[in-house]
């Protein structure tokens, strides 16, 4: 998988929001301490989801004009499977 920024074209760092469930406690002085953090969504699943385009932001130029390119081997693998399916007919 490759991610490109269409705006600056050269960035390789991107930011993606993520919801987490946080367990915390109130300290005696009223401050908060974090006890546990658990992701509520999988980033991998999020990335393969089409809606993620709207949420990905380029770290260097802050643009959200970002494209995700899935690996070529995934494409060729699909083609191979299609060929195999044809041969099976």
């Amino acid at each position: 998988m490759q991610i490109n920024c269409r705006s600056c074209g050269k960035a390789n760092e991107f930011l993606l929001p993520l919801w987490v469930r946080t367990t915390f406690k109130f300290n005696d002085d009223g401050s908060l301490s974090i006890l546990h953090v658990k992701p509520l969504e999988s980033l991998e699943e999020k990335l393969t989801d089409n809606h993620v385009h709207n949420e990905l932001v380029c770290k260097s130029c802050s643009s959200n004009d970002v494209e995700i390119i899935f690996n070529e081997y995934e494409e060729s693998d699909k083609t191979n499977r299609e060929l195999a399916a044809l041969e099976g007919l």
């Binding site: 490759q2 991107f14 930011l15 919801w19 915390f24």
Partner: protein, 130 residues
């Protein structure tokens, strides 16, 4: 805040948004905390958002409760209940006496309190500095 199911007032849970950084390169993709110089932005954002939601729940105590009087943001980390409010919420105040009755009931206590204040500067001097 207090949980009205188990009376825990220390441990709670909430959902907050943070940011992760995706770094793409020859070796594939790395997911990590986002750093700006020495500052861990992912962790800073998590802490800030946590503080915000907790402060909001404290300040807008009645507004964050739904029609079942359950907290829309916080739940108890001990028993899981969402019946979480400030200790002196409108929800519990329904058990209170009408104010006139409460004043009447506490009348003696109030008289003592006022007497103490009235006499505060009239205590006998037990010793004097030389």
């Amino acid at each position: 805040m207090i949980c009205w199911e188990c009376f825990n007032y220390t441990y709670f849970e909430t959902d907050v948004e943070t940011l992760k950084e995706l770094k793409t390169g020859k070796d594939g993709m790395i997911i990590q905390d986002s750093m700006f110089d020495d500052y861990n932005y992912s962790q800073g954002m998590l802490r800030d958002n946590l503080t915000d939601v907790v402060q909001y729940c404290i300040n807008q105590n009645a507004d964050v409760l739904d029609h079942n009087l359950e907290n829309r943001y916080l739940n108890c980390a001990r028993c899981g209940s969402k019946k979480v409010t400030k200790p002196y919420s409108t929800w519990t105040s329904r058990r209170h006496l009408p104010i006139e009755q409460e004043i009447l009931k506490n009348h003696q206590e109030f008289k003592e309190l006022r007497k103490e204040r009235f006499n505060a500067d009239q205590l006998p001097v037990l010793w004097k500095s030389k």
